[in-house]
């Protein structure tokens, strides 16, 4: 097992445990991109766009939306903590795998060259598409892909098919994914 990754079934158990723990311990459905949305809206809170409010603010505005025990929305500090501890967990894992501070993936450099400016631009541009697309679709790999698809939600099934399909198409176009 290259780089000491988990076999798929261990990964499945670990990945499935996250939305369940998130729900049972925090009383909220697991979704990561919504935390980014809360944070950016907070940063420009002088003028929150109407769409950020239309679904959530007015009571009764959204039928069936109520979770059984609606928990108080988490504050920006908690969102920041969540993001920081994602990095902490990633760092602990990489240290255990002996992969801490690895250079950029060779495949990535092979496709886009070794100019740091170009690589930074590709990452930033890709990031913009990720941020824009996940907000437009109303979720990402966690909220749609894991939490939504497993509840057979139509929006999540379509969004997941779309983002996975686009990922496949772009990878094929770039000619990536070769042997190690």
């Amino acid at each position: 097992m290259d780089q000491r990754y988990w076999p798929w079934w261990v990964g499945s158990l670990a990945l499935a445990s996250v939305p369940v723990l998130h729900w049972l311990l925090l009383g909220r459905m697991f979704a990561v991109s919504g935390r980014f949305t809360s944070l950016t809206d907070r940063l420009r809170s002088r003028r929150i766009a109407p769409m950020a409010l239309d679904d959530c603010a007015a009571p009764g505005a959204m039928p069936d939306a109520a979770e059984t025990a609606v928990p108080k929305a988490q504050g920006p500090g908690t969102h920041v903590l969540f993001l920081v501890f994602l990095a902490v967990g990633g760092g602990m894992s990489a240290s255990l795998r002996g992969a801490f501070l690895r250079p950029l993936s060779p495949g990535f450099v092979q496709v886009f060259g070794s100019s740091p400016a170009v690589l930074a631009l590709v990452l930033f541009g890709g990031g913009v598409l990720v941020g824009f697309g996940t907000r437009m679709a109303g979720g990402c790999t966690s909220g749609h892909g894991l939490s939504g698809v497993s509840r057979m939600q139509p929006g999540s099934l379509l969004a997941t098919a779309a983002f996975f399909g686009a990922g496949v198409a772009v990878s094929v176009m770039l000619g990536t994914g070769g042997a190690r």
Partner: protein
């Protein structure tokens, strides 16, 4: 306080798991996308398959009901844009942070891009799209 500690613990576990699965590696993600290596694809499918009966049991035992995720004007194209960005940057929103944690400092650019794209969306939405998303965004 309790919720904050639990949030941190879950986030750290998620970050640990995502890196141990391989999601933090651009190359592993691309091996998944072109089906050169089925391990990560099976990981994801396996997790979804495990979750389906789990939600049914949880709903039975606790009477929980969750917000629906309906199809709206942005579902398809938002998904396509996200997938394109994921393949280019090798990161979904959580992964940018995990990559940073693993010492991939270039992920700073991905993270800045995600925040920029996320902040840009409502402006475009207001001027161009204007549909109701049907999802509570903080869900």
């Amino acid at each position: 306080m309790r919720a904050k500690v639990l949030t941190c613990a879950i986030a750290a576990w998620l970050g640990f798991a995502l890196d141990h699965i391989g999601f933090s590696s651009w190359d592993e993600v691309h091996r998944m996308f072109v089906f050169a290596d089925l391990r990560m694809f099976l990981t994801f499918v396996g997790a979804v398959v495990l979750l389906i009966p789990t939600w049914i049991v949880v709903a039975r035992l606790t009477g929980a009901r969750w917000s629906p995720r309906r199809i709206h004007g942005g579902t398809l194209f938002g998904g396509l844009l996200f997938g394109t960005g994921w393949a280019l940057s090798g990161a979904c929103p959580a992964i940018a942070l995990v990559q940073l944690g693993t010492g991939s400092l270039f992920a700073v650019f991905t993270l800045l891009g995600i925040f920029a794209g996320n902040a840009l969306y409502p402006h475009v939405h207001e001027r161009v799209f204007g549909w109701t998303s049907g999802n509570c965004l903080d869900d």
